[in-house]
């Protein structure tokens, strides 16, 4: 009898909390759809540039599922590789093919090597081209492990995830325990509360960023070619964005459980769209959604620093975008607090 009473009560609680109920049914569908889009995306088609005599290999490369771009000179082609517009550049030095791979994405590397292998086998009998291609990597290397690619993104993901949740729950608790109302009965201004949270957690996140960056690079041995200072800057900016987004969204959660419900809605989609998987195979609209997520910019900059060893000019845009996100979330949070006190 008591069990029945408890069962009934739980069912009633669910019925009253429509959001939790909706999340139980809809969130898994959302995550599963995303996963199916990501993993069932078309096979990755490498983009291979050709220049000079290698142009005559275009047709053969294309027949093996590569997209081919022709460049007038080898220099133009090399530039395209370093900008990431193409995955590799093929040139012919006499009869020896030379392949320069961009190298930062193991998936792309494998795809390029596959095409090259097939092309070589096909041409072997007829062309007389010596098939022992010279291969070099612009960034990374042939033995670059998947973790080296995922590492920088995962640093961003973990920082974002934990700061988001902890900051969100802690701000939420101000509301549920009544301390927020108490704060608002003092002459404290609304923006002072928001800024106080940013500073308080900011100090905390500096240490967190230090620890995570140090651990990933020194202990896990993730490939790191750039400046540690920039890695720190990016993890810190990601923390700030996560912190301000977490505190903002906590205004729309009634309890801790509802805060947790934001994970599949806010965090998981960002992870999928952050560049962890090749974005090119995703539908265009989904790529656009990715551009609106903070994690995308953080991961992009971290990859540029850690894998490609790039400097300020290549991460400046990401830095500005993340600062922009932070300021936007802070402003919205100050406005959201109007719900509790108008002045």
């Amino acid at each position: 009898m008591r069990i029945r009473a408890i069962t009934l009560r739980i069912l009633q609680q669910f019925i009253h909390d429509k959001r939790t109920m909706a999340l139980m049914f809809i969130a898994p569908l959302l995550v599963l759809s995303l996963m199916s889009l990501v993993f069932n995306g078309d096979d990755y088609k490498p983009v291979i540039g050709v220049s000079g005599q290698a142009v005559k290999l275009s047709a053969s490369l294309e027949s093996h599922d590569a997209k081919v771009k022709e460049y007038a000179t080898a220099e133009l082609g090399t530039d395209a590789v370093s900008e990431g517009t193409i995955d590799a550049l093929l040139t012919l030095n006499g009869t020896t093919p030379q392949m320069v791979l961009e190298g930062s994405n193991p998936t792309a590397n494998r795809a390029v090597m596959m095409v090259l292998e097939k092309t070589s086998q096909e041409l072997l009998p007829s062309s007389g081209i010596k098939i022992q291609p010279e291969i070099s990597y612009l960034y990374g290397s042939a033995d670059m492990k998947t973790i080296d690619r995922f590492g920088p993104i995962m640093i961003g993901v973990f920082v974002f995830f934990f700061v988001f949740l902890i900051a969100g729950v802690s701000f939420l608790r101000e509301r549920t325990t009544g301390t927020l109302e108490r704060l608002l009965s003092t002459p404290l201004k609304r923006w002072e509360i928001v800024l106080g949270y940013v500073c308080g957690f900011g100090i905390f996140t500096v240490f967190q960023a230090l620890l995570i960056s140090w651990f990933s690079i020194q202990v896990l041995g993730i490939l790191m070619t750039g400046s540690f200072g920039y890695v720190l800057l990016m993890t810190l900016l990601l923390s700030m964005t996560a912190l301000t987004l977490g505190t903002l969204l906590s205004a729309f959660a009634a309890n801790e459980l509802q805060m947790i419900q934001f994970i599949p809605l806010i965090i998981v989609p960002q992870i999928f769209l952050s560049g962890l998987f090749p974005m090119d195979t995703l539908p265009l609209w989904l790529q656009r959604v990715g551009l609106a997520t903070p994690l995308y910019y953080g991961a992009d900059a971290l990859m540029n620093i850690m894998i490609r060893g790039k400097g300020w000019s290549d991460i400046a845009l990401d830095v500005y975008v993340l600062i922009g996100f932070t300021l936007l979330f802070m402003t919205l949070n100050v406005l959201a607090l109007r719900k509790h006190r108008k002045m």
């Binding site: 009965s185 003092t186 002045m343």
Partner: protein, 243 residues
Amino acid sequence: MNKDAPVIKVSHVGRAFGSKLVLDDISLQVEKAETFGILGPSGSGKTTLVKMLTGIDETSSGEIHVLGVKMPKLAMLQQIGYMAQSDALYTELSAKENLEFFASLYGLKGEHRTRRIKAVMELVNLEEHLRKGVAQYSGGMKRRLSLAIALLHEPPLLILDEPTVGIDPVLRLSIWNELRALNKKGTTIVLTTHVMDEAEKCDRLAMIRDGKLLAVDTPDGLLQATGSASIEEAFLYYGGVRS
């Protein structure tokens, strides 16, 4: 501001949440250095009225003036000491840390802050528990700490929402003595209660029920006007339940 002007002047105040009218046409005045009780059953709109007095909430109609200034006004919050119905304390922190935090919000610094913390903790009889974590406090201790925090910045107006809930009779008496002492020093006190015998201790009382003001008078005045023997009877009289 005129010396005899009321500390609080509530004129024709209404408050609606959506289409639900929680307070309807409330008008009353609170004079300087008196203890003014707002009496009513739970759900009558007491807390809503208190929140508007402190400036956390806004009126839907009518006006509230505190110390001659139209509310809500951020600067006026410095003049008000507020104790909410729920103990708004950071349980992870010690009492001292809680006091220091709120003292800083009211701009108390250094030596003065230390002195005020000591003074209010003595007042509520908690000085030996200053360094204890609030999580270890009993319900009554938390209530007293909340009161101590409201007194920190020596506000001329004290607004207390159900201040003596969960406090034993001995301590309740000592808190009432302190409130009286504050009155003598010129502090105006507004408190809400649903305990009738406590209402008798107020200088004047407002009776609220279903968002409507039933009567405002001294406890004796209310008894005489209704011919009742107790505040409880008077309250029932105004509520339309006559025995």
